[in-house]
Amino acid sequence: MSSLTLYASDVAALMRKDLRLELRARDTLPAMLLFVLSTLVVFHFALPTGTSDDAAYGLLWIAIVFTALLGLARAWAPEREGGALDGLVLAPCDRSAIWLGKTLAVFVFLTAAELVALPAFALFFAPVDLVAIAGVVLASVGICAVGSLLAAMAAASRGREVILPLLFLPLAIPLIVGGVGAGISPQGATYLSFLALYDLIFAILAWATFEYVITE
């Protein structure tokens, strides 16, 4: 096997492990789905009557980011609780594959939550067009790429759940700008390309630096 297919199969195996764990234990995804729905209902009561759709759209992004945070906070919990992190680090695979596998698994969870959130948002508040959906997808890539690395950092710290949002939110601001802009601005394409640029920069950075975060 060439090194690239070997790498891909490592990543796929790591991702499958996370998905299978989730299928058996079901301790993250149902929480994310319920959380995103409850947030949207809360937003209905938080918004005064007659607020524009644009304001509601901004709140959708808050719901997405905090749902992602909920998933990310638990992203490394199975490894930590099972003491599996040392084993993963010692495994004969490139360490960045661990990051990529985790990122893809979190992306699957977040996509599932968004598959609930977007129709619910369209039903409760305002219609969502294709550009907005493209914005959600691109921003989710960035959220997962940066988030899974930061979650690994936070997992090494004492104040795990507390510290992750602090690390994550400043880095998520450009994503929110891109996502909200793609939804409400007439020049959606500009925002989409900005999101793609963000994804590219931070995915490369996270891919290259993950090894330093995970090794003792």
Partner: protein, 226 residues
């Protein structure tokens, strides 16, 4: 250890330079036609902001060196630069806020992209300290902090661009500061202030570093004695 000896000289030079800078900014530089006396804060606000960028950049540079070459001292140097950067970042927010009050009548304006950028960076680097102090000391903490510092310099241009984009849909009206061109005296005063503030950051960095190293040495000694 010649580097330790020049610190008092440097500190004295900085004090002198800053004294000259204050005189130049407040008395020598001509008054701005549009904004009057409040424009004089420009001679401190902009150099402080530029110095904060410099500190963050140097912190990330040390972090990069730590990851590529290694060396425990680079962790402390990176941390100290970022600490100075955060101090100067907070000063940028304060001076910017005062300037906003004087020229626009409000303490805070989301229309000022530079200020918003500094707020984002300030939050980001405060989280750096939270992270640093909640991870146990050791090689892993050094690397985690270094990686986070590297994310910081990537975030600066990305956020800058994002905030520019956001002002399109949040604030249709954009403040422009393209007043009259700076005259020679104004530009000269600005350069002196800039040099003074940069030197101040460097001296503060050195003092903090010496303090931190003494602290670490003292702790080692105590552990060795006990």
């Amino acid at each position: 250890m010649s580097s330790r000896n020049n610190l008092p000289v440097l500190a004295f030079a900085t004090t002198a330079l800053l004294g000259i800078a204050v005189v130049l900014a407040l008395l020598v530089a001509p008054e701005d036609v549009d904004q009057g006396v409040s424009q004089r804060i420009f001679y401190f606000h902009v150099p402080i902001a530029l110095t904060a960028y410099l500190c963050f950049g140097l912190g990330a540079w040390k972090a990069l060196r730590l990851l590529s070459v290694g060396g425990e001292r680079r962790d402390l140097e990176s941390y100290t630069w970022i600490h100075q950067g955060t101090i100067f970042g907070a000063l940028t927010l304060i001076t910017g806020s005062i300037w906003a009050k004087a020229s626009w009548g409000v303490w805070w304006s989301w229309g000022s992209n530079q200020l918003v950028l500094f707020l984002v960076l300030f939050l980001f680097y405060c989280a750096y300290f939270m992270l640093r102090f909640s991870v146990d000391e050791g090689a892993r903490r050094e690397r985690i902090c270094a990686v986070y510092a590297l994310f910081g310099v990537a975030l600066i241009p990305v956020s800058f661009f994002a905030i520019r984009l956001a002002s399109d849909f949040i604030h249709p009206t954009v403040f422009t500061r393209e007043g009259p061109q700076m005259t020679g005296t104004m530009f000269g005063s600005f350069l002196v202030c800039w040099a003074g503030i940069t030197l101040l950051a460097y001296v503060m960095y050195r003092i903090e570093l010496v303090g931190k190293r003494t602290d670490a040495n003292l702790r080692e000694l105590r552990e060795a004695l006990s």
